[in-house]
C-alpha cells in the first residue's frame, strides 16, 4: 500500500513527527463482538489461522472447550469459555472471543522502544511491523489485555492485525467473515457502537439482562473491538476481561515523568561535570612530603 505511510497516525519509538498525525479519515473501522450471540464454535479461530498461514500447535484437553489457556504468538484469536451459574441457579456458558482490542490509545505502542515496530493507521488498526520489532517484549507489559505474544523462534512479537491486508483492499477481516451467527460484525466505529447499543437495549428490555451493556473501555480511549455483554458490570466473568483497562501506571510513569527526569538528570550530570572541570580543573599528584607525624599534610 503506497499510501500506508501517510496514513499512520501513531508510530512507536519514533523521533520527530508522524506523517499522518492529525489526519482525519471519514471513518474508523471497528469489530463488534456480541458475546450474547456467540456460540463458541471457534470458526473465527480457524479462519484466523487459515488466513494468516499458521497451522497446528499442540494442545491438551483442559476440562473446557477452550482451545488453549491464552492466545499465542501464532494463535491470535481465542474464545474464552466460562461456565457461569446465575443467582437463580440457571446456567450460562459465557463465551468471548479474545483478540487484540486495537485500542485508540494503545499501551503496546506507548511502551514500544523500536522505531515503527508498532503503528496505528488512520482507520484505527494497531499493527505490529515485525520487520522493525526488536523483540524486547515491552509491548507485552504495555498491553492491558495480555495480547502481544513473543515467538521464541522468530524473536518477535505477534498479534492480531485486524487482517489489514484484507481491510486495506476493502475486505472484512477473516474472523468477521467466518462468524456463523453474526456475533461478529464489522463496520465503522460509529455504526458498530450504535448497533451494539441497540443490541444491549434489546437484551435489557426483552431478554431480561438488566446489566447488559457495551464494552468500549474509556481507559484506553475506546477500542476498535467492542463487546456486547449480558453483564457489563462484571466483564471479568468473560474470561478475565478487565473491568477498567488502561495503560499500566508504571508504563505511563516510565514513559512520562521518569523519562524526563532521567533525561534531565543525565544531561544535567554531564553539564555539571563539565562545569566542575572548568571550575576546579584536574587533580594532580603532588611530590611526596616527609611525614610530619600527624598523618596530615604540613
Amino acid at each position: 500500500m503506497s499510501q500506508a505511510s501517510t496514513e499512520l497516525i501513531r508510530i512507536s519509538g519514533h523521533p520527530g513527527t508522524v506523517p499522518g498525525a492529525g489526519l482525519n479519515r471519514e471513518f474508523q473501522v471497528c469489530k463488534l463482538v456480541d458475546t450474547t450471540t456467540c456460540i463458541g464454535c471457534k470458526a473465527c479461530e480457524v479462519a484466523c489461522l487459515e488466513w494468516n498461514g499458521y497451522t497446528f500447535s499442540e494442545t491438551t484437553f483442559d476440562n473446557s472447550y477452550q482451545t488453549m489457556p491464552e492466545t499465542a504468538w501464532n494463535y491470535w484469536n481465542l474464545i474464552k469459555f466460562n461456565e457461569h451459574e446465575r443467582a437463580d441457579g440457571s446456567m450460562m456458558l459465557l463465551m468471548r472471543k479474545d483478540q487484540c482490542m486495537h485500542c485508540e490509545d494503545p499501551g503496546c505502542l506507548a511502551a514500544c522502544p523500536a522505531d515503527a515496530a508498532i503503528v496505528q493507521y488512520a482507520n484505527g488498526i494497531v499493527d505490529f511491523q515485525q520487520a522493525n520489532c526488536i523483540g524486547c517484549g515491552y509491548c507485552m507489559t504495555g498491553c492491558p489485555f495480555n495480547i502481544p505474544k513473543f515467538s521464541p523462534e522468530a524473536r518477535k512479537v505477534f498479534k492480531c492485525t485486524l487482517c489489514n491486508d484484507r481491510v486495506s483492499v476493502g475486505l472484512e477481516p477473516a474472523c468477521i467473515k467466518a462468524c456463523p451467527t453474526g456475533c461478529l460484525h464489522f463496520g465503522t466505529k460509529k455504526e458498530m457502537k450504535e448497533m451494539a447499543q441497540t443490541r444491549a437495549d434489546q437484551l435489557r428490555d426483552v431478554s431480561g439482562f438488566a446489566d447488559a451493556g457495551v464494552y468500549d473501555p474509556p481507559g484506553v480511549s475506546g477500542t476498535h473491538v467492542i463487546y456486547v455483554l449480558h453483564d457489563a458490570k462484571n466483564p471479568e466473568l468473560y474470561g478475565g476481561l478487565p473491568k477498567d483497562p488502561h495503560i499500566p501506571y508504571s508504563v505511563r510513569l516510565w514513559k512520562g515523568p521518569l523519562k524526563w527526569l532521567g533525561n534531565l538528570a543525565m544531561v544535567g550530570g554531564l553539564l555539571g561535570l563539565a562545569w566542575h572541570y572548568m571550575r576546579f580543573g584536574p587533580k594532580k599528584e603532588e611530590p611526596i612530603q616527609p611525614d610530619n607525624g600527624n598523618g596530615r599534610r604540613p
Binding site: 470458526a43 488466513w51 515503527a116 503503528v119 511491523q129 467473515k177 467466518a178 456463523p180
Partner: protein
C-alpha cells in the same frame, strides 16, 4: 504444500532475524502491509462437504486457470452470495483448505491380503479386476431368483454397499442403478445412521 509453507515461514522468520543482526536498519519502512494472498488467484464455487446447511464455499487455487497451471488450493472461504451462509463458515468449513492439502490423504490403491499384517500396493487395473471378480463370484454364489415360497426375489444376498454422506446426488443415483441391477438389497447409506 502445507509443510513447505510452514517451512517457508520459519525460513523467512529466521532470515529476518539474520538480516537484522548483520544489517543496519536505520531507516525502517514505516509500515509494510501484507499483500492480499488471493489477489489474483482462481476462484471456484463449491459446496462444503460437512453438514446439511450446504454452505457455499469459494476455493482459491494457484494460477488463473490457464492451461499451463496445475491448480493447488491456497485458501478457502465462504461464498458471500450464498443465501444460507452469506460467506460465513463454521470451524470445520474454515479448515477445508487442510482437508484438501493433507499429507494423510490416500493417494494409491492398496490391498490387504488374507492373513496379512500390512498393506501392499496394487495397480488400479488389478484392483478393479479383482473386485469385479469377487463381485461376480459372490453374486453368483448368493443370488436368490425365487424365494422359499416360490415368489420372485432376484436378490443378491451376499453383497452389501454402504454409501457415504458426501456422495453427490449423481453418484448416489449411479450407485442405485448399478447396485440394484446387481440385485443388491443390502444397500444402505449414512442417511440411515
Amino acid at each position: 504444500m502445507q509443510t513447505s509453507r510452514r517451512d517457508f515461514f520459519k525460513v523467512a522468520a529466521v532470515g529476518g532475524v539474520a538480516a537484522t543482526i548483520f544489517g543496519f536498519d536505520l531507516k525502517p519502512a514505516y509500515a509494510q502491509l501484507k499483500e492480499l494472498k488471493i489477489a489474483r488467484a482462481a476462484e471456484t464455487r463449491s459446496t462444503c462437504p460437512y453438514c446439511a446447511v450446504g454452505c457455499g464455499v469459494l476455493i482459491y487455487t494457484i494460477g488463473d486457470k490457464a492451461k499451463n497451471v496445475t491448480p493447488q488450493v491456497i485458501h478457502v472461504e465462504g461464498d458471500p452470495d450464498h443465501p444460507t451462509n452469506r460467506g460465513t463458515l463454521c470451524p470445520k468449513g474454515s479448515s477445508l483448505e487442510q482437508d484438501m492439502l493433507n499429507p494423510r490423504r490416500l493417494t494409491k490403491p492398496q490391498v490387504r491380503r488374507p492373513g496379512a499384517t500390512d498393506w501392499q500396493d496394487i495397480s488400479w487395473d488389478q484392483a478393479l479386476d479383482e473386485i469385479a471378480r469377487w463381485t461376480k463370484k459372490t453374486r453368483d454364489a448368493t443370488f436368490v431368483e425365487k424365494d422359499a415360497k416360490g415368489l420372485p426375489a432376484n436378490r443378491c444376498e451376499g453383497i452389501s454397499f454402504i454409501g457415504g454422506c458426501t456422495d453427490t446426488n449423481e453418484f448416489n443415483y449411479l450407485v442405485v442403478k448399478a447396485m440394484r441391477s446387481l440385485g443388491l438389497v443390502y444397500l444402505e447409506n449414512q442417511a440411515r445412521v
